[in-house]
């Protein structure tokens, strides 16, 4: 079903545009131009965040953070095998996917660990990528309580994912 979402959506937009007598081609070009400008505008933020995140991963600092936090998170009922995905998720989507594959291999795909990690993957976002990107777009420098609030939502979401997987076996 999800294979059809994108093509049908494009089809729908174009037909709807024609029905409403929108100059679809010229409008598309205008919009595409702003899309390219947007991509270029976020490049400095991308470099700033991705370089430091990769240093956190390659230095082992993220692993240390994981070890430090794991007793705390186990108290919340999160299975140990799902912790790697959970901790990496706010930093990097692709690294979290790699962790997810490792979890599949270590515990088996249909284990509680793997299913909890899968649900976490879907129920949270790359906080340290989304936040700076959006803040840069608004040209805002002080994020106030955005980071702590996002981390609370992440923690609750991951705990909920672990519990939900325990309930629906």
């Amino acid at each position: 079903m999800s294979d059809y979402v994108v093509p049908l959506m494009i089809l729908g937009i174009i037909i709807f545009g024609l029905v409403r007598r929108v100059p679809v081609y010229d409008t598309f070009l205008e919009g595409a131009k702003t899309g390219l400008d947007t991509a270029l505008a976020i490049l400095p933020t991308l470099i700033a965040m991705l370089v430091f995140i990769s240093m956190l991963v390659s230095s082992g600092a993220l692993n240390a953070l994981m070890r430090f936090m794991s007793p705390l998170l186990r108290l919340l009922g999160i299975p140990e095998g799902a912790l790697a995905v959970m901790i990496v998720r706010p930093f990097s989507g692709s690294a979290a996917l790699a962790m997810l594959e490792q979890t599949f291999r270590a515990y088996g795909v249909d284990s509680i660990e793997s299913r909890a990690a899968s649900a976490m993957m879907g129920s949270s976002e790359t906080i340290f990528y989304t936040l700076p990107l959006y803040l840069a777009a608004a040209k805002v420098r002080k994020s106030r309580y955005a980071v702590p609030a996002a981390l609370v939502a992440w923690l609750v979401g991951c705990a909920a994912a672990a519990w939900a997987c325990k309930i629906w076996v």
Partner: protein
């Protein structure tokens, strides 16, 4: 953001040197700078495609209708925002729910831009609400994860759907709640 970024860099470098992984750290720093540019190029294609399509959608007036449809929710979550900002927010949430990340990001950036007034140094409450809801994921169908599970030979790759849906709902609710709580605490702190 200023300190957070600095702390991330210092922690990575200091830990890497302390554990004798300085070479790995400098390697990965260089590599990921290049990768960031490559990612930007890849994103640019998707951004351009979706921004073009959205521009058409904008001219048809469909965005207005969607925003009006979601207005009862949006006006409560984002009071004191312009109609333009709400139109982008409505479409960003829709794209996110459908899992169209490449469409959602330029919309989200436009929403942020239309919420910002020039010379504002601090993120507004509405901006933070929008950011945190976005950071909590709104995706209804986790396509990547399900296909990854299928590839790994799961007996029921989609068995996580119910759990994902529930935890996505809970994390979004938690996002809204924590924004409201932090907002109240922050106001008190700055008032002192």
């Amino acid at each position: 953001m200023n300190y957070l970024w600095a702390i991330m860099g210092i922690a990575g470098i200091a830990y890497g040197i302390a554990t004798g992984r300085a070479a790995d750290v400098s390697d990965s720093a260089m590599k990921s700078a290049v990768e960031a540019v490559q990612l930007c190029v890849r994103l640019a294609g998707g951004f351009a495609l979706w921004s073009g399509l959205i521009a058409i959608l904008e001219k048809t007036g469909a965005m207005n209708r969607l925003a009006r449809l979601l207005n009862p929710v949006l006006s409560r979550l984002f009071p004191a925002t312009s109609g333009e900002a709400r139109r982008y927010i409505a479409l960003n949430f829709t794209a996110n729910a459908l899992g169209l990340g490449n469409a959602a990001t330029p919309l989200g950036l436009s929403a942020m831009r239309s919420m910002s007034s020039e010379a504002a140094e601090y993120a507004s409450d509405a901006m933070i609400m929008f950011l945190v809801i976005n950071a909590s994921s709104l995706q209804l169908f986790p396509t990547t994860v399900v296909s990854l599970r299928a590839a790994a030979g799961s007996s029921a790759p989609a068995s996580i759907l119910a759990a994902t849906l529930v935890s996505t709902g809970i994390s979004t609710a938690a996002a809204i709640a924590s924004c409201l709580i932090f907002r109240a605490v922050w106001k008190k702190r700055t008032a002192l």
